[in-house]
Symmetry: C2
Subunit: 500 residues, 2 copies
């Protein structure tokens, strides 16, 4: 191959600076969620806002346009990784330059204040504390959507930021197809003669014991604990700050060890992806994740296909019983069933696999309406509660268990939620393909050897960074376009298995 | 008063941005000392370097020269706080503009790598691991000293960065006066018929119990725990990141609870100063600490004048015995004596008050020689060991307990050490003045009411920020110039008391 144009190296160097700044903003926000003293939040919001402005100025500098022009005028092979990197850079530059730095800073500042208000509102289940912040963030997002431009509705422009290539109408169509199938599977599960439940396992599981168990589990599934951390926060998340520094958080419930267990298996799935991105490509899109949906497919795969499998419970059982004395008298089969219990419940992050996407469908519908202006912030709680009852058959008792439960809107993350369902669909399709490609996969998982699976994911997904658009990545990894059937089949089989 | 010139507000806004960036760099480095995963250090060094470069460019922009010119040409009252702020800004701008951004970044990068090497070197007591980094940092410091300029020797220019107004020859003269007096007091203490010792108190003091006790102590002395944190690190420090966010660290030894106790009392002294700086002056020098020596005077005052007093041990004794079962059978008098034990020892941060400054005198002598080139890095361990034996009468067994023990040189902090001794001298002089101004001080301290002392420090020291040069601040607070006699008298009385 001919040497890369000088402009490419300049783009890479600028990208490296942006990655360093992004990791710094990431640390500010990680710290805000985990450790920041209560009185430090307003100063922290100003810090994040300043950093966001500096990053934005660097990302939108006219130098970049010049370097991109130069790269585009050279004859890189059209299917080379570098040609893909240039296309992604162009996409990002185009989006970033539509928004003036002042608006970026205003948005960051509003997010900082909103997040603090949301914590307070959720604690007291008091929507009015949060409402003006939500109003403000929606208005800022609408402004940004107008600047980005869209074919059909403002939400398109926001969705493009999380899941490039998807339009609101396509998501709407996909979700309309999923909804009746999911409701049918859920109804079947609710009607199981002896529904399993996590309640039967309630006991005292000291936090320290949970932490110890998780520190044992993480390296075993391939997470490099010398290149990351596990901490705790109200809302679990994973932040790939940079090479050698991938940080996850979880929540602890001393009555139910599965809260932290599945929190960690989920976040570790994200973490494995972050740790698997090619470090040599730092600064270029080839060192970045493909999309949020692809990211979510990794977390859901480890959480659900591995962590909620019979063989997981069977193979880890000796360690579980050593870690938790209150498991005495239970069987691994009880835990497997309990971990797969399908139940009507209020909280998305605690929802089972079957009802989970119903929670997402609800959020997607409400946030598209909020953006369009068809739903006012004032009417959000009532609309939430009404739709929730329709989908999940439960009356929402308070907003803390309703429209205040998630952090996303408090961070201005409109357009983010559908990526969860896209991730779920993708995870099952990847799992199906991995099993086709690795006939010994069930045996190795039974033996707690997760390396073959991780190697497959590294090769098919992680190592490509953002080279391929999500749709193409799925096609290449699985041999077919994204299709909800794999996931629906997984759910149907699981409910079938539980009924036996 | 006439309204402030517009240029003053611009300087304040720029100062605010620099404070926000400084707090961000501060968080990066706090995190590096406390939490950063082992494999994240090299990326972190690049982050710090980039941020330092951005700050440097903002701090040296020609805008500032223009704003300063404008401010200086308006008729602000010459003794007003704002006139003082302008003078400090001018001083900082002059210093900052002498160093090109590339050199700042190179230095930051070198520091990041050096720190990692130092941790390794100290762990293995292997000086050659650290030597090339020390060489590099010395060479960078010499380059910077040449750019700043100096009257007599490069060390002058470095010292000016930590303790403005002091010259190397003045420190040399002061230390030459102190040395025989300190040695005489130490000899007297070593010869006590029944020397007290912390060894007699060795027991099992679980870390969790120590943490609990410290969380009780901190608010009682006035530290706002909702505006700060206490964590642990190899080398204790305090970082006033910004309003509402003052972070301290300490070390824990489960056999000797006094390690964390005095670590925290020391860092809390720094923390109280940081929390006492006027938040309304954020962005101007009036919201900054006066100097490192003044900072250290606060930490030493709380650590030694409060924490090592008889009344501290007497008044806290019920809480100590509740916290630590292994104190059963001991008396508060034993602890008071043990906490004041004067001993020949290797480690500065664990040294008693009497020998402490001998450790500083040694470092000052060696670092001035290193800077001048009179001592080579290669010969440092031998020179350290020789001088150490002369001053403290002990043979240094390994470099971990010798020239590798302190973090400062690994961070390029040449010129920092003398501020410790200046701080010690200042702390005793402030204590003397506080007792003169508040006749009821001994009684309130006996009753664990530290508010009168804290109010006095807030009024005389904290609230002024950097308005006065350190020498003038001491003069104003105590009514006389800095003079070592107050401190020597304190030490002589303490040894006298111990002999009874």
């Amino acid at each position: 191959m001919s040497p890369l144009p000088e402009a490419y190296e300049k783009l890479r160097a600028r990208g490296k600076d942006l990655a360093l700044l992004g990791a710094t903003t990431g640390l500010l926000s990680w710290d805000q969620e985990t450790l920041l003293p209560p009185k430090g939040h307003s100063f922290r919001a100003e810090q994040s806002s300043l950093l966001a402005g500096i990053s934005h100025r660097l990302a939108t500098h006219t130098d970049i346009a010049r370097w991109l022009d130069e790269c585009e005028s050279t004859s890189l092979p059209p299917h080379s990784p570098e040609a893909a990197a240039i296309a992604r850079w162009r996409h990002d530059y185009h989006r970033a330059t539509r928004i003036p730095a002042e608006l970026v800073e205003e948005n960051e500042l509003a997010i900082g204040l909103s997040r603090t208000a949301w914590v307070e509102a959720r604690k007291n289940s008091h929507f009015p504390t949060f409402a003006p912040h939500l109003e403000k963030l929606l208005s800022l997002s609408r402004q940004m959507a107008d600047l980005w431009g869209y074919a059909d509705q403002p939400y398109d422009a926001l969705l493009e930021g999380y899941e490039p290539g998807w339009l609101t109408r396509d998501v709407t169509a996909l979700f309309a197809k999923l909804r009746p199938r999911l409701v049918a599977i859920a109804e079947k599960a609710f009607a199981l003669p002896q529904p399993p439940s996590r309640k039967t396992l309630r006991g005292h599981y000291p936090r320290a014991d949970q932490e110890k168990f998780l520190q044992l589990l993480l390296p075993k599934i391939g997470f490099d604990i010398n290149a990351g951390r596990l901490d705790s926060s109200t809302h679990p998340f994973c932040s790939g700050l940079g090479p050698g520094d991938t940080r996850m958080t979880t929540r602890y419930d001393e009555n139910d060890f599965m809260v932290s267990l599945y929190g960690v298996l989920h976040e570790a799935g994200h973490g494995l992806y972050d740790q698997g991105l090619p470090e040599s490509q730092l600064g270029t899109p080839l060192g970045q994740a493909a999309s949020l949906g692809i990211h979510e497919s990794q977390s859901r795969l480890w959480e659900n296909r591995i962590g909620r499998s019979r063989s997981f419970w069977k193979s880890w059982w000796p360690d579980f019983t050593r870690a938790f004395t209150d498991l005495t008298g239970h069987k691994h089969e009880d835990c497997w069933r309990a971990s797969n219990a399908v139940e009507r419940s209020f909280i998305r992050v605690e929802a089972d696999e079957v009802t989970y996407d119903l929670h997402i469908l609800l959020r997607f519908e409400l946030e598209t309406q909020l953006l369009k202006g068809d739903l006012s912030v004032h009417d959000l709680p009532a609309a939430w509660n009404e739709l929730f009852e329709k989908l999940l058959g439960l009356k929402v008792p308070d907003d803390a268990r309703g429209c205040l439960q998630d952090i996303h809107w408090s961070l201005g993350g409109f357009g983010y939620f559908p990526t969860y369902t896209l991730g779920n669909l993708t995870s099952s399709q990847l799992w199906q393909a991995a099993n086709r490609d690795i006939p010994t996969l069930p045996t190795s998982v039974e033996n707690r050897d997760y390396q073959p699976l991780l190697r497959w994911l590294r090769e098919k997904v992680h190592s490509h960074g953002r080279r391929y658009p999500a749709a193409e990545l799925v096609q290449r990894a699985t041999g077919k376009p994204l299709d909800p059937e794999a996931h629906l089949k997984v759910l149907e089989s699981k409910v079938q298995e539980l009924s036996q």
